[in-house]
């Protein structure tokens, strides 16, 4: 065995050894340090407009995307027969210049613009429209929004595999410039539907050639006002105006940078520092600063099609009894939630369909009535809450807001009805999983309308609706919705829908609506033009531009 080297002798025995080793190390370190800086930093010419779009898009394939941030890019690149008006958000002519419909409202004929063209300069034909629709509804494409085709002849059958011939879809090219759409019912909101992304016209050749990666393929033909110039995940997408777009002359900003990030505070900082012209995404509003920011002249409030509500699991005791559900709905203090917790000037709503949806007037739901609530609870067998089992209130835990509302509801139910509620915060995917499996007692819920018509909220609760998720079903409610949607006269149709909504809220009460959403956007109107608050929260990029100073 060797004796251990005496530690003190080693350093002294070779003076300078440290520096001898350190010098090459330091040199390597310095090279790496300064060598790496340029690789991470590539300066690019500035854009004409910089938008903060919220989260990184998961996909920008217009048929597959579901998120709002994704949709804004999808719409910038691809257009359908109609598109959203930048001011009102209602449907206006897109690739189609005009249309007409049959007296029964079931057949629409669209005429394409003569100057409708791909960004490559090729004309966009009726065949392109038909192929795009067939792709979207084909189950192989796996588009979540394929359900928007259920209003079109054979749309549902193709989507659920009952009909395998895509050519049987009720979207037919009758000439190179005309498309006929055959509906199963007179669908009053069909023009709004056609403006949604899942009806956008997409390039067949690129998709057939590149498959899943088609959207990042070189020289991608686009049908919308912009083309995709570059894309760095979690950083930015750069859009460049499509020179062959039919309305290219009115595209205000030629180069648009669309930033992606998920911190509202950073988005605000970027805006305050002038690096971002406009924060498009309403989720990028730091709710902790709601009161301070609302006072600023460059923060603009708008109502939009979103409803916050609570679901009851109608297949689980004690919520199998509608009297119990109604009793709970009758004690909720909505103004308190809006004033003390959300604090964004939301409108308390005892009804599901938000105010102003498609010009519809929602019926009043269950307004607070404590004696009636107690009476209903007693009738259900739980006088003063006696014998009422402890139930759970499930919510997704990402936002403090949901937690605060949960605590508020917990104390309301305890004080008013003597009911004990336990809180069950879940991480997002677990929450969604529990919702779809009906594994909950009560659950925080919300819904954002897909188009500006009350049907987008009411048809959720059809007995066989995939998004019902309460286990509740009522043939009479279903019948009212179906009759309404087969009715041509708008006034009569809205009456029927209001009857259905009243039945949902008063008789079935599988849900307790709390409030309708509002959005805020940050924008200095002295600097930027072309942004208008509207119910569908649509702000086409092509209309937005910097004002000359």
């Amino acid at each position: 065995m060797r004796p251990p080297a005496p530690s003190q002798s080693a350093p002294a025995s070779r003076p300078g050894a440290f520096l001898r080793f350190a010098r090459p190390l330091l040199a390597l370190f310095a090279t790496l340090l300064f060598g790496l800086i340029p690789s991470g930093c590539r300066p690019r010419p500035p854009a004409d407009l910089v938008l903060h779009n919220g989260r990184e898009p998961e996909t920008i394939d217009p048929h597959i995307l579901t998120g709002q941030a994704d949709g804004r890019i999808g719409s910038a690149l691809f257009e359908g027969l109609t598109r959203f008006d930048p001011v009102t958000g209602s449907a206006i002519a897109g690739l189609a210049e005009s249309w007409s419909h049959s007296p029964d409202g079931k057949t629409y004929t669209f005429t394409l613009r003569t100057n409708a063209a791909w960004s490559t300069g090729q004309p966009i034909t009726a065949e392109d429209v038909v192929w795009s629709c067939q792709r979207a509804v084909d189950p192989k494409t796996a588009a979540d929004y394929a359900s928007q085709y259920f209003y079109i002849e054979n749309g549902e059958a193709i989507c659920n595999g009952a009909e395998t011939n895509l050519a049987r879809l009720g979207v037919i090219a009758t000439s190179p410039r005309t498309v006929r759409i055959q509906l199963t019912n007179p669908t009053p909101f069909i023009l709004e539907l056609l403006a949604s992304r899942v009806f956008a016209v997409v390039p067949r050749a690129a998709i057939e050639r590149y498959g899943d990666q088609w959207i990042r393929s070189p020289d991608l033909p686009c049908s919308g006002p912009y083309t995709l110039e570059s894309w760095r995940v979690n950083d930015r997408i750069r859009l460049r105006a499509n020179p062959h777009y039919w309305d290219a002359a009115h595209v205000r900003s030629k180069v648009v940078d669309v930033l992606a990030g998920d911190s509202p505070h950073t988005a605000l900082n970027l805006y305050l520092a002038g690096d971002v012209d406009f924060i498009v995404d309403k989720d990028m509003f730091p709710s902790e600063l709601a009161e301070a920011l609302q006072a600023r002249p460059d923060f603009h409030r708008y109502d939009y099609l979103g409803a916050y509500f609570v679901r009851f699991n109608c297949t689980r005791k004690p919520f199998t009894d509608p009297r119990v559900r109604r009793a709970l709905a009758l004690v909720v203090n909505r103004p308190r939630i809006v004033e003390r917790i959300t604090r964004m000037q939301e409108r308390p709503a005892s009804h599901l369909v938000p105010f102003g949806t498609g010009g519809y007037t929602p019926p009043a739901g269950l307004e607070p009535d404590l004696p009636l609530a107690r009476q209903l609870l007693a009738e259900a067998g739980y006088p003063d809450g006696a014998g009422f089992p402890t139930v759970e209130y499930t919510f997704n835990a990402e936002s403090k807001l949901h937690e605060h509302i949960a605590v508020e509801l917990q104390s309301t139910f305890r004080e008013a009805l003597g009911i004990r509620i336990e809180l069950r915060p879940l991480e997002w995917k677990t929450y969604l999983n529990n919702m779809s499996k009906l594994d909950y007692d009560m659950m925080r819920s919300s819904w954002i309308g897909d188009y500006n018509d009350p049907n987008t909220f009411l048809d959720l609760f059809l007995s066989n609706g995939g998004n019902n998720r309460t286990g509740w079903g009522d043939p009479e409610f279903d019948q009212l919705i179906h009759t309404a949607n087969a009715t041509l006269d708008r006034t009569r149709r809205y009456e029927l829908l209001a009857q259905a909504e009243a039945r949902l809220l008063h008789v079935g009460a599988p849900i307790v609506p709390l409030y309708s959403y509002v959005g805020f956007y940050a924008l200095d109107t002295n600097r930027i033009t072309g942004v208008h608050g509207n119910l569908v929260d649509e702000h086409p990029f092509s209309a937005i531009g910097r004002l000359p100073r």
């Binding site: 790496l36 796996a142 929004y145 995940v233 911190s263 505070h265 305050l272 999983n433």
Partner: protein, 304 residues
Amino acid sequence: MNLLRRLLLVPLLVWIVATLAFFLMRAAPGGPFDRERAPASKEVEAALKARYHLDESLGRQYLRFLAGLATGDLGPSFKYRHHSVNDILAQALPVSLTLGWLAFGTALGIGIPAGFLGAVYRGRWPDWGGSFLVLAGVCIPTFVLAPLLVLFFSLKLGWLPVALWGSLPQVLLPTFALGLYFAARVSRLLREGLSETLRAPFIMTARAKGLGEFQLLLRHALRPSLLPVISYCGPMLADLLTGSFVIERVFQIPGTGAFFVNSFFSRDYPMMVGLVIVYSALLLLLNLATDLAYRWLDPRVRHA
């Protein structure tokens, strides 16, 4: 030989970690395609699962994953549907590596002089000043420090950009914010190590021989005192190079930090497993590098 054996162990350990990550991710409730909106039809749902092979048995999926891994293909991202995991890593890793390396430089550049001065002037004002900074650096979390830096240097003074990545000025604040905590740790380690060395008998011998103070400190005392710092450098570098969720979020930097956290929440299985592979390989290799550095610096290890 020992080194070679350890180098050969790296792939084996990475494979074990990757396998664990693969199965643990799939044990979490909910799946990548669970969304608020129900799928349009059962056929749509089935087509989606088939496209990503989620309809196959777990064993088959694992074999598919191994086959991909063997060719260096980590698979498609389930969340970012037009990007493969390799695409995303190719974009995000250089950013995180740059930021991490710069922060490493900051940590050593601030930490070593501060620790050195603290030990040499032990109990006097440079030590107190240094200790205060160290304490602040260790105690103030980055999610507080970073916004404060932005508030002061960007929004109030307007000297530096508030966020984003792409130019030299944009690099400064995140580098400093990320490096400060580590600088504090390094400084503390060196101060303790150097203080102890200065009390060692061989220092007294060196002094007695009449060695100049400067030569004594730099040549004789510093070298053994750096050992704790060196052993900390491995994990520190691994931590820094793989990206910081907080800093990348505050400064909206397109690195890997965000993916680390978000790919779990979105059940982006391949992305998560890919990152775990990168992280574990980096950690193992850096630990190996630390041991090598030890050999250089400490003859006791070299001759053991």
